[in-house]
Amino acid sequence: MSSLYAPTNEDVKQRLRPFGIFFEKSLKDLIKGIRANNETPEKLNHFLAQALSECREEANSPDFNMKTNAVLKLTYLEMYGFDMSWANFHILEVMSSSKLQQKRVGYLAASQSFYKDPDILMLATNLMKKDLKYTGTDDVVKVGIALSGLSTIITPSLATDICDDLFTMLNSSRPYIRKKAITALFKVFLQFPEALRDNFDKFAARLEDDDTSVVSAAVSVICELSKKNPQPFIQLSPLLYEILVTIANNWIIIRLLKLFTNLSKVESKLRPRLLPKILELMDSTTATSVLYESINCIVKGNMLEEDDYDVAMQCLDRLNTFCDSSDPNLRYISCVLFYKIGKINTAFISQFDKLVMRLLNDVDVSIRSKAIELIEGIVDEDNLQKIVLVLLKQFVDQDVVLLQIGGFETTREIPIFIPEQYKIKMVNTVIHICSMDNFANITDFEWYNAVLWDLAILSQDLSDKFLGYRIGEQLRNIMIKVPSMREITITTIIKVLYNEDINNHLPSILKDCFWSLGEFSSFIGNGDDLINLVSKRRKYYPADVEVILIPSLLKIFSNWCNSSVGVDAEKIKFVLLNLLSYLEPLCYSKAFEVQERAVQCMEFLKLASEAMEQDAEGLPLLLTDIMPSFFNSYELKPISQGTQQKLQSCILVDCETPFLSEKELQAVLTQEEHDDDDEGLFSEDLLLIDDSSSTSSQNHDVNVHDNLKAANDETNLLDNEELELRKRAERESNPFYLSQNNDHTSKASNQLLDFSRKAGEESEAHLIRLNKSDNGDEENTERKRKSKKKSRRRVHVLSDEVVVDNNSQSPTPSTQSLFTNAPSAKGKISLKIPTKLETFDFSKPMSSSPHDTGSSDIRHQSISGEQEELERLRKKFEAQQLEAHGTSDNGENNEETIVIKKKKSSKRKNKQTSGKKSKRKDNADENSKHLGETVI
């Protein structure tokens, strides 16, 4: 016993035990003991451990009363987080007691601890069956207890065994039993859907029961079941409708509305009948929860059509009054519903901007964060700046005054802690509303620049590092899409770059900043200072930033060297050295990509500096011609998100087929022998440059090629062809070139087309390449067409400034797609920690439910047929199917693992290719920069 409280009473208790008096006491002792030992956690833990060990002893005692007592105490302790599954067997013993009091304790304990313990559940099954035998009036309660207990510990086998008993109970004369049986059947159906199929009508008949609580239970069960699978219950809808019309009980009405929500999701025919009734209900009811559920039903049950303004307004008006109420719960839920209605059609909520603004300043942060979700529905050109100001204010306030904001509702100030999550959400929302529809709402990009700068400052302290990328992305997008603003934007970018704090806390923003700087380095007059700044800082960024930074530096350097203002050779040398010293440590970077780029860059710059040494006056060709040609071949234009991926997805890299058959190879080799030395040298030269050419993009490659061609008069078409042949031979021997070659084809540049035609080698691989490039071209033109169409649409939508620059190639995702995109992201946030068990648990009924639908159909047919034998056969078949299901599931799993293994092995096989692949990726990546993908 809990001796700490009353140790001296031990003897007395011993004597009293046969009279059952001890029972209450010892639990009370435990509780009192816990309370008495509450001062320090150690003391409490000590006490609890002691109590637990006492329970262990008592549970083993032969005295049933004592055992019961121990189990009860354990149940209590379980709430404190102690595992009691070791006592399951004792619980079972207590359950089997003939005394109701003990049985009750046993079932209580069982429902708390019997989850998924197959051994004990098997034993429990028999006990259950016995307890469910209804023998006399006194047994009502016993059966009731058993039924309640049953629902928590049901298993498929138990369900199969007892479902017949339960169905007989449905006809019991006692409403209490009927009700309990219905609720117990719910769990049975989940485990054993065949039961529902075979006894559907019996079950449905309970909807017409005389007793309201039975009807209520039946409605609830059907409602819950329809969540899993609404299909079989659609036939009940006339009956359910009847109940909805006649019944006055609000609890049941809400259940019914829920049920109809589920049903009308799958059966659109219900809408015309239900909608008027629900609207009527909305007018007549006084209960807010019914009103709320009605609107919920309309919205979630797909009853609100996109153009149904009347109904929408009716709902929204109600919600509007909810939002004005003083009850924060009402405000909150109506906010959520507002959002859902807005999802159906943004136009519905657009007029409620004042309301949303009010909600944004609500006392409750959770209401605010719901209101934030609404913003994108109400934002337009005129109120954008106002809204952003409101949001930014909440930032600044809380940043300055230690996370506090004055509440306003009453005169007194209520300090509000603004959680980081909310701040992150605010940043995301600001970015989203400003950039949506291709900056449709922004009239003043200077203002937006300032906002982005503010956001960059504010986001430093937030833990979500993704924000940096988003802000950087915005800067980049403006850079590309709004040429007239480039100078202003680039000053913002430089401002960001110069800010030490941002550099330290939010390096992710720099990725796109560096890219923009590199790409638009022609705007920068003193590129050398910029390079010196970066190299002097000697600060190294995360790999993904560094990857961008290296080529960007090169771009800046290239532009600066060749800017119209004559640059001093000495200065160039100095900057070159700076660059080299900055890059050197990066050559040993752990990130492959960084390392590679750094090495490429280094090699090229070394070459350049060597050339400078040799040629003191004037700049070497390498710097004046070759380097710019790396970067300036194409003008950048924005393309829509995913276009590139589409391009890439149609590229199939064939690593298996040899480029030349054995015979062809021989032919090439012999031909090669006839080549004169000059050409041989030349091609070697070329290869060398290929290697050193920093960015390895295929475009550059070709460009280098072209340049050299131009420089060297001797090279003519014939040479070219031979060169190509020779190169191919090289590739054959050196698999490293494979990828490059494939990349040529993949990127579908026209040059390449010419090239390969000239080469005229009709090998197999070649053909494929040609095809591919054709495909790519088609893609290209198609894309252009598409984007043209879209951009034409844009002209209508957009304000002047943006139109000018965007009629090039900036397709805008339509309003709706944006709006639907957003919630999915939000969903992700809320699903951050999905509990494993829950998904697991759900899968069971799910997998059984489709089964269920099919089977219920079968059942209907069979009713007309009335052939018992057939029915039995079907059942058998069903069971077989079930089994097959089980096994096939396993099979699938196996297959999956095999597939994975295969993949692995194939990877191993193609070890060589993996290196190439990444190289190719690199190329593609670089190339993408040239095509200028902007993610909208």
Binding site: L27, M79, S216, N329
Partner: protein
């Protein structure tokens, strides 16, 4: 669904979906501070991992109830909590925290009578619940008398 009443400390817990002990302790550790930190002016609905949590305060006790966000009605949940408290109030006669602590078995019984296995309400009539609980109590006490007699 979970329903727990607490005041920083847990007084009563009922799990309607199977969770592992680890998850259970995690949830019971995380939830109370979160709810206690909320001000009376704030709304009674909080988002917690993939659930919504609806809570209500009665004197020193918080009644907390986890619901699935898409399917359940928040207002109804508040009503259920209220009904539960009302029922206990009549059963114990002006219920207080101590009543629930010492008669947690009874509190469970009332809850069981009220809520179906997975937490959706079945019995909304206070009278019915009470009569069932009372009849059970009667039988129990009769058991007890019999035992003493024997």
């Amino acid at each position: 669904m979970i329903l727990a009443s607490r005041q920083g400390k847990i007084r009563l817990v009922k799990w309607y979906t199977p969770y592992t002990p680890k998850e259970k302790t995690k949830i019971s550790k995380e939830l109370p501070p979160m709810i206690l930190s909320r001000k009376p002016k704030m709304c009674n609905i909080v988002e917690y991992s993939d659930h919504k949590v609806v809570y209500r305060r009665y004197a020193s006790l918080y009644f907390v109830c986890g619901i699935t966000p898409e399917a359940d009605n928040e207002l109804l949940t508040l009503e259920i909590i209220h009904r539960y408290v009302e029922t206990m109030d009549t059963y114990f006669g002006n219920v207080c925290e101590l009543d629930i602590i010492f008669n947690f078995g009874k509190a469970y019984a009332i809850l069981d009578e009220m809520l179906m296995c997975d937490g959706s309400i079945t019995e909304s009539s206070k009278k019915d619940i009470l009569s069932h609980v009372h009849s059970m109590d009667n039988l129990e006490s009769r058991d007890q008398i019999e035992r003493i007699m024997s």
